[in-house]
Amino acid sequence: MRSSLERILLPVGVTSCFIALWHGLVLWSGSTIFPTPVDAFTGIVELMRHGVLLNYIVASLFRVSVGFLLAVLIGIPAGLFVGWFGRAFSAFNPLIQILRPISPIAWIPVAILWFGLSDLAPIFLIFLSSIFPILTATIAAVQNIQLVYLRAARNFHVHGLALFKKIILPATMPQIITGIRLALGIAWLVVVAAEMIAVNSGLGYLIIDARNAGKRYDLVVAGMILIGLIGLILDLAIRKLQQLDEVRWGFQSFAAR
């Protein structure tokens, strides 16, 4: 077991070293365009003073929430259905496997064609990028349910809706949550890319605009840092799901206690 001092000191130390190295390299290279950590930090302060920052963050989070929630609401039931019924799996799996490896970035032109330069385009892209990890995880989770659990349930005459509620859903939940977590990470990656092209607000737009409008690389890096921090917060929030009593059994951290 690591002590709590170690848990705080180690990451703080490594991160400080990274920032120091960054600072040193910029000074050593003599670059006047690429910002030092101090420039990036003052960039963040400047963005906050400017007033648009909060709007941009809200815009990005809104797009991610809508696209991601749609993917959860459609992906989980669809995955349960396709995973449970062998015939549905034979019918749908090849199509899923063909669509899945297409990068969401490749869909950007299509999204603009269909939805124009509106919120709908990035929402559509986020939906596309999140639904495949959720679908894949849910299908695999259903197919991995151990036969003993299904047999035990049959033995006690648990069928139909009760089987779904008492066995299928809880047995698959840990793996589904892992898929959801993966999907949210990808959604946050994709929203930035989508906003660089398809709209004119949001954190992705902030970055591309800072570059195009005046080579303000301090603001570019400031935007990148904010994206990283918000992504971290999102992941921490979704990780809370793994600590629910009903699913803790499915995660390593619980078994290792």
């Binding site: 659990y149 006690f156 009760a162 008492k166």
Partner: protein, 268 residues
């Protein structure tokens, strides 16, 4: 135990062949098994690993369809599983997402609430898990999990228990204790028990009768009746002779097999 009353379980010419299990060649697992089990009897089925004991028990329980012959329980043909006959699985069928008390009460979901709570408390206590009602299975040892499964089965008040090597994954001493507990539960609850094991000594400690199966395709080699009172001491000469007879019937070399296989598996 005479055959005047109808038998609890009757196997008539039971055969099972898996169709093309490997490279399209049908795999005959057991052939022409005939067996009569009386109400309240404790019958052990022993045989070498892979001879088809699990398959046989699955067919009798109704999880698998037979390819020949009949299974009759209380005179009725078995086609599907039934909650009056509960299966205890080799791989442990306790649900990891439910707490101990929820697992134990799983077979009586439709009982009135107060009644259900009383039954859960009774069987949790019987298997010695009082105080662990709110624990999750992953917080329990292998032996405790196995006891949860036994309590879950008993709580549903079945009249037959099918047990498939239930103590196989436990360490040596836990296994000995679980056997003794099972015998005392059986003496109290008067269930008919069909207990599968590859451990001949385990069978001799538990059973009224030991059914000895051969290698695959398995047939019943012999059935040995053990009338001596429990708890049984296994180093008496008559047991050693009986054990060697069983090894011979299974077609195994019996030089020191029993204790060696016990010692090998004592991990945890």
């Amino acid at each position: 135990m005479e055959g005047t009353s109808p038998p609890k379980i009757l196997l008539r010419d039971l055969s099972m062949t898996f169709p093309g299990a490997m490279n399209g060649v049908p795999l005959p697992v057991f052939e022409r098994v005939n067996l009569r089990v009386e109400e309240g009897e404790f019958v052990c089925i022993v045989g070498p690993s892979g001879c088809g004991k699990t398959t046989l028990l699955n067919v009798i329980a109704g999880f698998l369809k037979t390819t020949g012959g009949h299974v009759l329980i209380d005179g009725e043909e078995v086609l599907v599983p039934d909650h009056r006959r509960i299966f205890i699985f080799q791989e442990c069928g306790v649900f990891p997402w439910l707490r101990v008390d929820e697992n134990v009460g799983f077979g009586i979901l439709h009982s009135p609430k107060e009644n259900r709570r009383r039954i859960i408390r009774h069987y949790v206590e019987m298997v010695g898990l009082t105080g662990f009602e709110k624990a999750y299975p992953s917080e329990l040892s292998g032996g405790m999990k196995q006891r949860v499964e036994i309590a879950r089965a008993l709580a549903a008040n079945p009249d037959v228990l099918f047990m498939d090597e239930p103590f196989g994954a436990l360490d040596y001493f836990t296994r000995l204790r679980m056997r003794a507990e099972l015998v005392s539960i059986w003496e109290r609850e008067k269930k008919t028990i069909l207990f599968v094991t590859h451990d001949v000594e385990e069978a001799m400690q538990l059973a009224d009768r030991v059914v000895v199966m051969s290698r695959r395709p398995a047939t019943i080699r012999t059935i040995i009746e053990i009338t001596l009172p429990r708890p049984r001491v296994l180093d008496a000469q008559e047991y050693i002779d009986m054990r060697n007879g069983i090894f011979e019937a299974m077609g195994l070399d019996h030089s020191g097999l029993g204790s060696a296989s016990d010692a090998k598996k004592s991990s945890d």
